[in-house]
């Protein structure tokens, strides 16, 4: 018997594990991008401060640095591993794929983290203590190191969409083909641009509190220029990024994204530009509350949809275009010695191949079919489809209320098992499994479906003969 290395499933009924991951990831993006952008901004300000002998710039770094220390480095350094934790429980094989491909890249990034954390403390607590040239050198190290953390992670994020060079990676494997590709650099360019946008907005929170009106105006205007220009550059890079995506991603975007998505993104961009224009023309009006509100707006209206799209367009895969979102390996990767698990599932089914499958559910009966169906839905569906009324893409919404068990079963066997549903992974089901899953799905819209099913004696196909025939 071929066993498949599927882990237990965690299912969060209120919002779904996918949104838990998304929520933590979005918050982390805000913190981390701001941290990197601010570090570079620090380096520039320290340079100007030393060159032009402007101690108020060093004071600003100290003040912003303390805020940044908590806002970005403390919260960023917790939510960073937090993404690991949330993906570990929500998609263990997804994070495993990234870890096992890129462990050394992450370890390299960790070296930069260590430097970065020492650096931010030194920027804050050594301002005024170190001579100016040394302080500037620390600022340069800090800025460069922060940016290398982004360089290190962006190829891993890109791999979640697809390997850098898919054909070469599938054939030959290896870190370089997995990490580097056109999408890596397009994503790097966009993230770099928006990193400055976020820094400009978050920087406003601190700048708003500056007592020196002339300096406040000087700084807010420069932040407005940096923020506005980087937002425009970031958006203008978007077509390049889209051009690097695989065909399936374009299909998903065309068919699955809500109509309001593009206009709403444009509105967000327009609002940001308006904000920067306003702060440029009237820097006096910027208060910590206004800048805080703008930060929140970026988080909710800008980052969340952006991260949601990135999550959606890689479906049905979760990593590297070989691992399905339901944790099953969907394609061979000869270069890495990875075999598709679809044939094993076709042969034995989830109930026999899944290591953690309850023993009492390995044999499917009319009595336990609803429970087996629930186990199948948890295992094969719940990563992308909530089993409750709330959360991500509720499963019940994808089937008509009046759909009967036979109809659902026919779809499951005809389209899903064979891999003929767009955006969906191929989910091979034995006939008995399909019936069990159909009973469960039917019960989501019609609680009486189970009792009717059990009362029926002829219609269901569930018996061992069908299972044997499959074999």
């Amino acid at each position: 018997m071929d066993l498949i290395g599927l882990f237990p499933t965690w299912y969060e009924p209120l919002i779904g594990s996918g949104w838990v991951i998304g929520l933590i990831a979005t918050i982390h993006v805000l913190f981390s991008h701001t941290a990197v952008g601010a570090a570079i901004l620090f380096a520039v300000l320290a340079y100007i401060g030393v060159r032009d002998d402007r101690p108020e710039l060093i004071d600003f770094i100290k003040k912003y640095g303390l805020f940044l220390l908590v806002f970005s480095y403390i919260l960023g350094s917790i939510t960073g591993p937090g993404i690991w934790y949330s993906t570990t429980v929500g998609s263990p094989r997804g994070i495993s794929a990234l870890i096992h491909n890129f462990v050394w890249k992450w370890a390299t990034e960790w070296v930069f983290f260590v430097i970065e954390v020492i650096g931010v403390y030194m920027m804050v607590y050594m301002a005024g203590k170190l001579d100016r040239r040394t302080y500037m050198k620390v600022a340069i190290i800090f800025g460069l190191t922060s940016y290398t953390t982004m360089l290190a992670i962006v190829g891993i994020l890109s791999f979640m969409m697809m390997p850098g060079r898919p054909e070469q990676w599938f054939a030959e494997g290896g870190y370089l083909y997995g990490f580097y590709g056109p999408n890596t650099f397009a994503q790097l360019a966009i993230r770099t641009a928006f990193m400055f946008t976020m820094t400009a907005v978050v920087g406003g929170i601190v700048a708003a509190g500056l007592k020196d009106a002339a300096f406040k105006q000087w700084l807010l205007r420069r932040l407005a220029i940096v923020g506005g220009l980087s937002a425009i550059v970031g958006m203008s890079l978007y077509p390049w990024y889209l051009g690097t995506l695989p065909g399936i991603a374009h299909l998903v975007m065309e068919n699955r994204l809500p109509d309001y998505f593009t206009p709403s993104i444009l509105i967000v961009l327009g609002a940001m530009l308006a904000y920067f224009a306003l702060t440029f023309i009237r820097p006096k009006i910027v208060t910590a509350t206004l800048a805080g509100f703008a930060t929140l707006a970026i988080l909710v209206l800008g980052l969340w949809p952006g991260e949601t799209v990135r999550e959606s367009v890689r479906k049905p895969y979760i990593a590297g275009q070989y691992l399905y979102s339901n944790q099953v390996i969907g394609h061979d990767v000869p270069g890495m010695g990875v075999k598709s698990e679809i044939p094993a599932l076709q042969k034995a089914g989830f109930t026999q191949a899944h290591i953690f499958w309850p023993e009492s559910q390995r044999e499917i009966t009319r009595e336990n079919a609803p429970e087996v169906g629930r186990s199948l839905a948890l295992t094969a569906c719940s990563n992308c489809h909530s089993l409750s009324d709330t959360g991500i893409r509720p499963l019940k919404n994808y089937f008509p209320k009046q759909a009967d068990i036979e109809g659902i079963k026919t779809y499951l066997l005809g389209a899903l098992s064979t891999g003929n549903t767009m955006y969906m992974p191929q989910i091979p089901l034995k006939e008995a499994e399909a019936e069990a899953l159909a009973v469960y799905i039917a019960s989501l819209n019609d609680p009486d479906a189970v009792s009717r099913y059990r009362a029926e004696s002829q219609t269901a196909q569930l018996d061992h003969r069908s299972d044997e025939e499959d074999k």
Binding site: I78, V89, V103, T108, V114, I118, G173, R374
Partner: protein, 407 residues
């Protein structure tokens, strides 16, 4: 859960270098992480103890310990990333299963740690110059300590759960029905948890010797304060050391029957001996503590002791997973990748070593200098080398990257 099932849970991608490298790195980085956690917990406890004291020395210590805790939390978090990474590489079947089975707690870990850390920073911000002012918001520090203990307990439980693969299926599907909520903590060992937490006392005791030496280097004039630190450090080391040894014994006595022989083997004895040496060492140094760099050596000895303790912890895992369940992390499939392996070690050893040495040197020397600090020419060169290495790193990134992406 038989051995074949455990092996089936491995990632088919394999690992990009020999697994023993990840094993060693996991142990070493975990030792540094837990040492930082001990400093965090110990300094937090001393800070709150000192904050309520009327004695000037205690209040001064509270001031220093708040600052120590503030840095220690960052260090503990950032160093903790490394063992978390390496454990997933070679122990993925165990780590992922344990995490998923207690998923709710894994997610809670993130938010509790955020609250605890923010509480610590709130206490810090509210108690600027605590030495001369009445303590404010002490509840923030108490919340922080409780939060750190809770997240420590979550990590502890996740580790213990990895050692019980025979229980996993029952935990996942009690009575044959899958419980996917992840809301339960399934296993823990109070003696083991107590041992690793209360090690904070001897560790912070030894840390005080290093702090004392640092003050001496900065020309500390209050000899009474230095004596106070020495007495407190010795007392914390002695009492904390004894408590730790008792807890270690209780942990070993409670090991499962199938690995009970471990308790009388070499590793617990080595760990106990290392702890005894670490706490006795500053006492044995006597007056040499005040001479040359000797005053810093207790911290180095304690670091070695922590590595021994971490190795013992790894040995418990080894005898359980390999000895009982037949899982050998060292036979993980190797998909050797020379580029990323080499890049890591060069970054770690050359770039990281240079820059961290530079930053810590100037931080240390600046702290011991009155007024503005200007580094020596040699230290300056170290910093310049760090900048050049960073630029070279970025250049190789784009060089290899663009060549790979567009060739």
């Amino acid at each position: 859960m038989d051995t074949a099932m455990l092996y089936a849970l491995r990632d088919p991608l394999g690992v990009p270098a020999h697994p023993v490298i990840f094993l060693v790195l996991a142990v070493l980085t975990w030792a540094l992480h837990i040492a930082a956690v001990h400093v965090l917990l110990g300094s937090s406890a001393l800070a709150i103890r000192g904050a309520f004291s009327a004695q000037d020395h205690w209040r001064r210590l509270a001031d220093a310990m708040v600052n120590t805790a503030k840095v220690a939390v960052s260090v503990a978090i950032v160093i903790g990333v490394a063992p978390l990474l390496f454990v997933q590489v070679i122990y993925d079947p165990f780590w992922y299963t344990s995490n998923v089975l207690s998923a709710w707690w894994v997610i809670a870990f993130i938010f509790i740690l955020i609250v605890a850390t923010l509480a610590l920073f709130i206490f810090y911000a509210m108690n600027y110059e605590i030495r001369h002012k009445k303590v404010r918001a002490p509840s923030a520090m108490i919340i922080a300590i409780i939060g750190f203990l809770v997240v420590g307990f979550i990590m502890h439980a996740l580790s213990v759960q990895t050692l019980e693969p025979d229980q996993w299926r029952e935990w996942y599907a009690p009575n044959g029905v899958i419980d996917a909520s992840g809301r339960s903590i399934h296993a823990f060992d109070p003696w083991r948890f107590g041992f690793f937490i209360l090690l904070s006392f001897p560790v912070i005791g030894i840390w005080l010797f290093g702090y004392r030496r640092y003050l001496q280097g900065a020309g500390e004039s209050d000899a009474g304060y230095l004596d106070f630190l020495q007495r407190l450090g010795t007392r914390l080391g002695a009492v904390g050391g004894v408590i730790s040894l008792i807890l270690l014994t209780l942990w070993m006595r409670g090991l499962p029957e199938d690995i009970s022989d471990f308790a009388t083997g070499i590793w617990p004895i080595a760990a106990a001996a290392a702890l005894i040496v670490a706490v006795a060492y500053p006492v044995l140094l006597g007056k040499r503590l005040d001479r040359g760099m000797w005053g810093y050596t207790p911290v180095l000895v304690a670091t070695v002791a922590m590595i021994v303790v971490a190795t013992m912890r790894e040995a418990v895992r080894w005898v359980t997973l390999f000895g009982v369940h037949g899982y050998n992390p060292l036979d993980y499939k190797i998909a050797m990748d020379w580029y990323s392996t080499g890049l890591f070690f060069l970054t770690f050893g050359v770039l990281g070593g240079t820059i961290v040495a530079y930053l810590l040197t100037i931080a240390w020397q600046a702290g011991q200098t009155e007024g503005t600090y200007t580094p020596s020419r040699a230290v300056n060169l170290l910093g310049t080398a760090g900048v050049v290495l960073l630029l070279l790193w970025i250049a190789q990134y784009f060089g290899f990257g663009l060549w790979t992406a567009y060739k």
